[in-house]
Subunit: 313 residues, 2 copies
């Protein structure tokens, strides 16, 4: 069988020729050079782009190797209907996302954010002594690869780390994990709550008024999962009452966050523009997933990081 | 022998009565209630204050348990002449200072500082993908308690951590340590340089034009030790040429940093107001050092964290 790989990811010349020689891929075409008339020949798509022709034109497509961990931007139903395999880059986000969570935490607990804002006014001094992570109780929603690496790292800092997943099954690096129901009853004892859940219909607006109400007064809330998991207006209410002492948000219901969103101006909110998964090493790490999966694909073996298209992750 | 403890550190009522009953200290007097006429009775000072009477009035003083790791603010020569013991709280700074170093690092490498500044203008997006700490080469000047904990933690993030001390003796948690001389030749291979040296005559302006010139183009420089270790105008020059891509400074030659210091306005500089050692748990942790040392003091045993008054640390 001949293969045509359409890549929406920038490849180096070395990477491109490696793909062609090692995997006998006849054509490796970058999206900028792609002729839509060739859509019917494409068997593999690497990455994804909103500018691609509609899926119906990709009549020979067998597999999409995405560049992300979450896939809620893909036409999952149609892909399922056509039995197209979707794989993610799950496993390469742990380092940078763990560092982003910690950077956001420390920006607050170590008074770095306050210092940055005061530096703009040449002002010396901060309002309080700050704190450190020793003995802090952390609850992470999600217990996948990223959550596991984060949990393991938080334990190095002396945190007691709990997790939440669908079944409540125990997962390494967590002191204890709960299912969605049991987890809610633990919320009030947690100093830090971190969302890493995928964006699915099940998690839509999961963080709502009720959930925020059950949190401890003065909690730190971090959203690194998907913006759709949070009811934004409920979140804003609980930030305003200072129930949530500090919210660090990397993902939003609408991205880019609209200019007129109230979130921008709240003093206890840190906004980052959906960057926690990014790193200058990303494409190199993703390429090792692609080549590993190509090896399996050519041998008709089961691929790594296959998405369950019904569950959406 | 009767004891009179003058405390410049706020104690809880429980802590105060614990000192009196457990150690048979006749008087535990907070500085706000202290009658200068009693200076001659004071045998122990806990903490330090610029408002204390001159040392000559403390004719019975045996021991100062400071609240800090560095002691360059004390009249060390006079203390040495009078054989007054000085002990530090060395060992209780590791957690919070490690977190501050990481917070400063991540504020840059994870684009958090840029996001904070853009949030003020409701601007979405950052200039580049950022990076992560995996495989970064870090050189720490100083290999004491704080440096060891920092080195151990940086290794968790995949850094290769090197240290510098006077003798070049090997220290746990460092891949390798060098003496001052050998260390300089390694500078050009380091991505991140962190100063944790004490402020002594030996370290005065140690970081000067020559040392900065030997660093790698694009280095990250963090000063958490003492401001006097750095020649500020040399530092500013190398920030302006972008030899130093990012400088995070918690200590300065003059503190508070003067309003007209050029450092405030440099775009690649993060200034925090000498807060990296602070935490809401500080006084509780220091109190355990005080009581541990009181136990030894009463039994005429050697105290912990005794300062070599000639070396100054």
């Amino acid at each position: 069988m001949t293969h045509f790989l359409l890549t929406c990811v920038e490849l180096t010349e070395t990477q491109r020729s490696y793909l062609q020689t090692t995997f006998s891929i006849n054509q490796v075409v970058p999206i900028e050079m792609f002729d839509r008339a060739d859509s019917g020949k494409v068997t593999i798509i690497y990455g994804w782009s909103d500018t691609l022709p509609s899926l119906t034109h990709f009549s020979s497509l067998k597999w999409i190797q995405t560049l992300s961990a979450g896939v809620n931007y893909l036409p999952l139903e149609e892909l399922a209907k056509r039995n197209i395999i979707v794989t993610t880059t799950s496993g390469i986000h742990g380092h940078q996302m763990t560092e982003s969570v910690l950077g956001m935490l420390f920006s607050y607990t170590r008074n770095i954010r306050e210092s940055i804002l005061k530096q703009e006014k040449r002002e010396w001094g901060v309002a309080n002594k700050g704190t450190d992570l020793v003995d802090k109780r952390v609850l992470i929603f999600g217990t996948g690869n990223i959550a596991k690496q984060l949990a393991k790292t938080l334990q190095v800092f002396g945190c007691d780390v709990f997790g939440i997943n669908r079944s409540g099954r125990q997962v390494e690096h967590f002191t204890q994990t709960f299912n969605y129901q049991d987890g809610q009853s633990k919320l009030s004892t947690m100093d830090i709550v971190i969302n890493l859940m995928p964006g699915t219909t099940e998690t839509y607006h999961y963080f709502n008024d009720c959930l925020f109400s059950n949190m401890k007064k003065g909690v730190i809330f971090i959203n690194m999962g998907r913006g759709t998991s949070v009811n934004t207006s409920d979140l804003i209410s609980h930030i305003k009452t200072e129930k949530i002492a500090f919210a660090a948000l990397d993902v939003f219901e609408e991205e880019p966050l609209p200019k007129d969103s109230e979130l921008w101006g709240l003093k206890n909110v840190l906004i980052t523009p959906h960057i926690s998964g990014a790193t200058d090493k990303y494409n190199d790490r993703a390429f090792t997933i692609l080549t590993d999966n190509l090896m399996r694909f050519m041998k008709h073996e089961v691929l790594k990081n296959v998405v369950d298209l019904d569950l959406g992750y």
